[in-house]
């Protein structure tokens, strides 16, 4: 798996605007794209939220392994999700080793569900065109 990129990968949202500018997007899909949750649209953050959606909790190292990313990248993106209260973070010690555990909050789960709805609506709108 390719390493997940940096915060610059927020470009995905920019891509959607570009496409809309070229009138490639049907109007229904256009309004959907406007409502996209930019916070979880970024790949690594989307990955974190998706992985936590099917786990009670995951440690920092679990997520790092799963997302195949670096410590720095993961902590930057995890912090953004934490600030939005999409995930919660618990720090503890296992012996002398610090352990960071992440959980998806109800707000995070709702955000993922909304995002899935948006993606499905985009696909539907394109097919109906």
């Amino acid at each position: 798996m390719a390493k997940h990129g940096t915060a610059r990968d927020d470009r995905n949202v920019g891509d959607l605007r570009t496409v809309r500018g070229k009138s490639e997007m049907p109007s229904a899909a256009s309004s959907r794209a406007d409502a996209l949750d930019r916070l979880i649209h970024e790949r690594l953050r989307l990955g974190i939220v998706s992985a936590l959606a099917v786990n009670d909790s995951l440690s920092f190292s679990d997520l790092k392994k799963l997302m195949n990313t670096t410590d720095g990248n993961l902590s930057v993106h995890a912090r953004k999700l934490e600030e939005a209260e999409y995930i919660s973070c618990t720090k503890s010690f296992e012996g002398r080793m610090p352990k960071t555990q992440y959980r998806l909050t109800p707000a995070g789960r709702r955000a993922l569900e909304r995002y899935l709805d948006h993606m499905e609506a985009l696909i539907r709108a394109t097919r109906e065109r």
């Binding site: 998706s50 992985a51 099917v54 899935l116 993606m119 394109t126």
Partner: protein, 205 residues
Amino acid sequence: MASVTPLHRAPAPEPPALHARAMDNLAFIRDTMEAAGAFTAVSGWGMVAVGTIATVAAVIASSRHSAVESVYVWLAAAVLATVTMLWAIVHKARQARMPLLSGPGRKFVLSFSPPMFVGALITIVLYRAGLPATIPGMWLLLYGTAVVAGGAFSVKIVPVMGICFMLAGTLALFTPTSWNDWIMAAAFGGLHIGFGIPIARRHGG
């Protein structure tokens, strides 16, 4: 003579269609969930329902006078339990928006099915051979085998449950046949309910 380089660059490729990117995002979410490995299409609440059906079947089967009649009761319960479990699995996968037969789901089915098929065949053979009393033990062993094999692609608790079924099957084969219905009740009833509740609570329903 020096080569001529065109001033105009080739036009940049068109960005991928929006719906293609949306599908790609959905595939990414699904792949991540599968890789995260804690999702199981096995429905915990479905298992609780199956356990309840098995407990009722055990009570009815214990009131029968012959092993053959008990086997009929258990067969009827098996059909009802299978339908219930399939419905629960489909419902859970739909709720989680997970495709049923992709990735781990497909592997689970491919590993789970062969021992169940063998179990169905051996049931016919043992019935014809006049050995209905050995059927419950064989069912438990092969069901446990199927759960262990399928559970290798699911959450850890699933293969553990399979091992418990195999132990119950071993017990049923080497204890008096009068114990069969109670061992079946403890395994198909108790184990399904006992493992179903934590699976439902921890692994999405």
